[in-house]
Symmetry: C2
Subunit: 137 residues, 2 copies
DNA sequence: ATCTTATTGTTTGATATTCAAGATGTATTA
DNA sequence: TAATACATCTTGAATATCAAACAATAAGAT
């Protein structure tokens, strides 16, 4: 049973990855920019270290990604008085718009996924995911 | 509700990606090699085009990945009599072993994920994933 | 106050990943 | 046989990533 569940999980992840690659490829964004945007869209301001942690990459990598987001005018760095080492990253208007657009694709995918489930199953699925997320990640 | 589910799904995917990156980084494999291994481990023989499709990348990309798997002695190309254009990729003994090892990590993660669920919830979760996989991906 | 250590972020150099477009060899069809 | 389709590989370019070294700033110890 665990074996079967593992296989469904892998299939699920692969499906999602492929789907995400294809929608990102059809946009202005690269994959890493899109991932950064996903995090930035959920935070008013976030520093490089936290952003890197949430993305699961090093700060060096994040520096490059944010450089590109700035160059494309999706985000900008702001400095703080409290700690002058820290950069706070914020989305520009253009960035917020791109985030919304990208996020809408996610909601559409969710809609498509759950279209075969009953409301009860959807609620169960949500609760299970939430439990797993809290305990595992 | 869809919004919340979308967020849990994204968190779930990100968590899984980070986890996978970290276990792969601690092994002999690179990410793309590991993904190829996951597919190869489930097939006795598979040609380049199918492998590429299952990985969601172009055949050009797959060529490079399989080159490296061959160089590392995890897999080898076999030609067929039926169609001499086609390469069938098979795992070597070393490759099978690497697959098993990698797969065990996945099972361990599954185990960890479901450790907070009841057997009934696990079954529900499995069935839901299966339905979604069949309909969506 | 100053010296040491820790932290945040950037840079650098190397490797890996990926795609699109074109090339090559093989099969299929007209 | 000629034309077309197909499977794979090659090439060139853009991205993605890490580890390690670096610079600036903050925090703690004496």
């Amino acid at each position: 049973m665990r074996e079967e569940l593992t296989n469904e999980l892998l299939f699920f992840f692969n499906g999602f990855s492929s789907w995400e690659n294809s929608i990102v490829r059809a946009s202005d964004l690269t994959i890493s920019e899109a991932h950064a945007l996903e995090v930035l869209g959920e935070h008013e301001k976030i520093n490089m270290k936290s952003l890197a942690q949430k993305l699961g990459v090093t700060t060096g990598t994040t520096t490059v990604t944010v450089d590109r987001l700035e160059k494309k005018n999706f985000a900008k760095r702001e400095s703080t008085q409290e700690d002058r080492r820290v950069n706070l990253i914020v989305l520009t208007e253009k960035g917020k718009q791109a985030f919304e657009e990208h996020h809408n694709y996610h909601i559409q995918l969710t809609e498509q996924m759950v279209s075969v489930l009953s409301e009860e199953e959807i609620k169960q699925f949500h609760d299970t995911l939430k439990k797993i997320n809290m305990e595992t990640f």
